[in-house]
Amino acid sequence: MRRFLSLFTMLMLCGVLASAQTRVVAGKVTDKDGTTVPFASVKIKGSKAGAQADAVGAYTIRIKEGDVLEISAANFKAVEVAVGTQSTIVTTLEKTGELTEVVVTSAFGIKRTARSVSANAQVVTSEQLNTVRQTNVNNALAGKVSGIQVRSQSSAALGRETNIRVRGESNAGGGASGPIYVVDGTIMPSSNDINPDDIEDISVLQGPQSASLFGPDGSNGAIVITTRRARKGAKGIGVDINTGIQFDKIYILPNYQNSYAGGGDYDLSRFTWSPGMPELWKSLDGKFYPDYTDDASWGPRMVGQEYIPWYAWYPGTEYSGKTASLLPQPNNARDFFNTGVTILNNVSFSKVSEASSVRLSYTNQDMKGLIPNSFLKRHNLNFNATMDLSTHWLLSTNLTYISQQSNAENDDGYSNNSTGNFNSWFHRDLDMGKIRELQNLQTEGVLASWNHASPTAYDAATPSNFYRGNFWYNPYAYYNNIRFANQRDRLFGDISLTYKFNNDFSIRGTYRKQQLTTNEERYVNNILQASAGQASINNSYVDGGAVNSGKAMYGTGQTYANRNVLEAVASYRKKIKDFQLGGNAGIEITKIRAKDVFSNTLGGLSVVDLYTLNNSINPIGYANTRTNQDRRALFLRGDIGWKNMLFAEFVTRGDWASTLPKGKSLFSKSFGTSFIFSDLVKDNLPWLSYGKLRASYGEVTRFLAPYALSVNYVLNTQTWNGNGLMGTPNAIPDPALTGALATTTELGLDLRFLNNRIGISATYYIGEDKNAPVTAQVSGTSGVTFKTGNYGSVRRKGLDLQFNVKPIQSRNLAWDFNATFSKQLENIVTATGPDNAPIIFSGGASFNGINPPITQNAVGQKWGQMYGSGVKRINGVQVLDGEGFPVKDPDLVYFGSVLPDYTGGVQNTFTLFKNFIINFNIDYQVGGKFFSLSDMWGSYSGLLARTATLNDKGNSIRDAPADGGGIKVTGVDESGKPVTHYVGAQDYFHALVERNIFDDYIYDLSFVKLRELSFGYRIPVNKLKSGKYINSITFSIVSRNPWLIWAKTKDFDPAEINSVFGEDGQLPGTRSIGVNLKIGF
């Protein structure tokens, strides 16, 4: 390292000496708003000498007094500037009315004009991104970029990461393979720590030709973010305030039945008081009660009859010992959730002087969650500065610090205590108002629950066994008594020093750091341990799930992750006659370190309500890992352009890493070309404003995880009377395991017509991921269950389309229309494991021989095939047994792929009377399947509407078949003869689960969603008195997810599926409305 630094210094010095004798002038090129104009061409009139401005409009040029500069840029009118004695030249250009040239940002901050880029790169500006102010980058991108599928998550899960699929999936081993996020050149592991308020623009790089410069991290595409900085040319101090408040409400919940009450008994039972029972209950003698203990809703029809509600048995309330009327509570699940409130404030200051620019931005986000007691608070500080130390030296820094505190369980797995309760196991007669009112009620030291025991099971010796919940707590009481406190501090950014030898050649050295430290604490209060018999508590923190079941717990964990990068990049850019040359060479040295320690109590707490590790009844459970990884890379890229019309580019990169086998390295190369053919036919085809053809080929590298090359034996954290335990790892590396390359070939056409009012961009790609390292399941009978080797191959072909239309552009009405469409023509797994057996990578929780569907990759099939137990069919018709129950197919049944067939979106912007702006953004997805575990249990337990319909005879399917009720089931018998049966509803839905028949619970991922809607008003401040101080005021009313326009299932939001294969207790879809005020001083 030291050697490298000395080399760098030496090069810098050489430059200083070389250029000290001449007069050099620095220049800036901006538009009339002060926005920089990139890549302007600067020529000295009557001479061959010239320069080209960089991406932020800056250039330096060697001149003498009396020279005249010709300054031109695409889409701007050329100007001539006479040179006097000034040391800086600021030139303002006027637009020609054509589109502003878009700048695409790639690795190492290399910026290129969209004209010259040969692979599909889409740029989203901050205006497009934040039509509705979002707290998450991924959600903001939904529908706006072709080729990506945003998999959002319910906003009830505070701070949960959403993920993005770029061009489907390429990992034959399953699992998500999302893009990286790059903020001002620094690679971020998570999209969550990027503040949309600080984003200037986003370049979405999908083709490996664009992403290859990032090396192995960018192998699944890159989302390259440039943060805002102070605008050169702006006067005074710029202050922007952006403040907003947003309210989230529950939107999508399953369609419940509202006719039958809770329990497993159709009849109410008559209560008979007997000595030994509480005196309070005497008043209930002879009254009727439902089955409280069974957490299903196969109970009596609710017709307002008198009954004993669950809370009447508990002393000490105004309802004690009193009956009520049994009535449906259609909104009980909805009523549970709070209105979420998000307050988002941002203030930024910027100042530009001749030689420096500074921007400081602070964002405060305060979220109150939809689940009781959940919150998330975040402080985000972003600082950008550049300083011209001299005409040669430039110092620059970007720093972001984020501090976040949250309390959010974010559990939407099976049997979680909100949706896992309401959608899978619940009573449809429960009044949520009473549950909320009685959340703190305790009797005999236990919390009251709607799911308490039957009075016939009351035992005076152990009264708490009656009062406690069976499977479920009062849901409010649950959330009152757990705490998932999380503190995370993220620091990332860079500091760089650039030396410009001259206008053509510069060297930049950059140090980057990206660090995350977290501290977590989890509390499960003792009262929960006492208050239920068989409840599931989310307390398997790091170790010992079984030992901890139903127990109080304290757990804590600390993590530290650090990624340091040192890079040096030499850049060259030169214009020679009609040719533009550019090139970069560099070195990147990366150190990645992670350390963590987690621990929790096991077996409960000795001293009640003392939440410390040393209060653990059993020896504590813990985990402690350290992960080290070093990487080094060299790269070289170059480009050439002719007449700003024909371009070619190449990139090569060599990667060495500690994780690869000794002596192995990976070399990747890519090249591409683009041709602006419209420049040739300008005169013949005046209606064609822009026409570009592009073609590219690229390779990206696939790396290995640290320590993946060895069989690592880990000791169990517990000992058996002092004897250590060690198991043979179930996953071992293939002896030949190494890294791999993936390739993509891409063809594209960009066209704009009628003075840029209509635009279309099309990209066709073929991606081959060959011999990628994947972890494949092998038969455990070999001794291990997984092998990691270069087994996986996936081939992808697809089409990405974008349309831009400005149908109306009149003085008082402008309509901008933008549409994206992506179709994957192929996403085929061509190789999987050592024996090409399917790789199973996802499945629901299985128990007692009930195995929900699995997701697998099989050779020759589309990625992400869902298979599962299903009904046996003869010629497509289900086979029924003698009683009318479906017969299980002995083989697994194919249900479809979890990948959608196509995705896309539509954005509309209307500008009325110049100051009113209306935006609405729709995104959609068609095809793909998911399995709903909630739906399976919700049907099993009689909660969902389908369990209480009428049959063809007009009778309830819950009535006995003998009385004309029952579900009409049609099919064929084993011999293929058509049969019809009537089967009791409860028997039917139980039989589906008991027989592992899941066909009914497979749904389509298709949806059309109005994702964003906003109405903004730009207050014409110039006409107001305050105009002196205020530059702009924009007020907007915004709504997110206001309308799930269409979906094949409206019971669960298919846009917010919580796992790869589907959902297993997913939090509900939400919608929000809010107001936002943006003031610029």
Partner: protein
Amino acid sequence: MPVTLAAMLISGCEKLKDFGDTNVSPNATTIPNTAALLTNVLAGVSARATQQNPGYFAQYFAETQYPTVSLYSTPQFDFDGIYAGALYDCQNIINVNTDPSTAGIAAANGSNQNQVAIAKILKAYYFWTISDAWGDIPYSEALTISNNTPKYDRQEDVYKGIIAELTAVVEQFDNGAPVKGDIVFGSSDNATTIGKWKKLANSIRLLMALRLSKKYPNGGEYAAQQFNLANSHPAGVIEKEDNSDNFAVVYPGGNFRSPWFAAYDARDDVGESLQFVNLLGSLADSRQIAYGSSTNGVPYGRDRASFMNAWFAANSTTYAKVLAPNLRQPNSRVDIIHAAAVLFAKAEARHREWIVESTAEELYKKAITASFQQWGITDNAVLNTYLAGTEVVFSGDFSARLTKLARQRYIALYPDGLQGWSEWRRTGFPALAPALDAVNTSKAIPRRFVYGTNDYSTNPAAVAAAAAAIPLPVPTPNGAIAGDTQDGRVWWDQ
């Protein structure tokens, strides 16, 4: 300048490739510790004897809340986890102790020979229990990591292979250093420890031999021969009535809890079946005090909607949990191969005149005595009254005595569902009525486990070949089909 730059780059390139030991995990070792592997296997070895699913088929247990397996829904249970878990840990002990490059390191944990012998006995036990449940299984080609698709061996070959292995292994022990990590038989007296392992090997061999009685019913045939050899081996078998030689795990409690304690930790899914409680009641069997937490047995084979939900609501606090609370503590003991099982086997072998030792009645009484003692009933008066009961006393014709013997063994094997179910399949006693609300097509009690989904996807050709070799059962239950079904029969059950 350019020369310097080039020189620096070239020398830098050499440095580029050198990462030292950055990729050596600081969290793990690459050479396994054989003592820790052994402890790991033994810590989980009771799982085969405490699993609930075969216990539902044997009707020892009934599902309280969500009857599925006990209604013979058609679940598929995977065995690949046992291979990759305990079985490969055993194989790894053998590999490390026999590979010349690591045997020296392993010797720090005791005699190489003895470590290998213990691992082989444990392997034999696992293979035996897997084969009894599924039938044909990967055996001869299993556990060699380089072979991802081992073939399925016929159960006949698996049985004969295991028996041959056990025959050899008892002769393999040497007098070397005590084996570390032996949390079952390990003691300060190495000779006693080794003796117990040898008895275990002989006992498994003897029990396996008897299981072949349908295939080799007569004295002098393969089964009787092997039975005799195991029984007469100088190292002996597990038959002490005080149960001191039993292959049993005593849990330390804390984070290693008895599986029967864990089964009821915040769950109420399984109970002693009403049928089994009734059987014990009809014999006035004192072991009921140990076998269940009450005499309120759980009705067997009824579905939730029509019956169990209402039943359980009224009986949730009083139903008979498996084992009395004092025997179901975190630090309780689980007997895996016990004297009663071996003595009953000997009694049957004597009854069949495979062996000449003692009398069948004597062995039968000893077996019951051992069982009573195992469950803490030491009052001789209670025992003698029981032994003299008309339904217990060893009398009647050949088949009546065999029935009584089978019934007593069925009671004594509780709560080891796999052994109980296997003996029921072999002998047909006691007569069990299938679940009233059975959901399978044949409505018959399952005779084997269906192969798991994991092997169907990872080793499809081999499992398909094994499935094709399973014949239609005789007599064929209504609706039963050939192949890999619950109605198919394992080789020794055919």
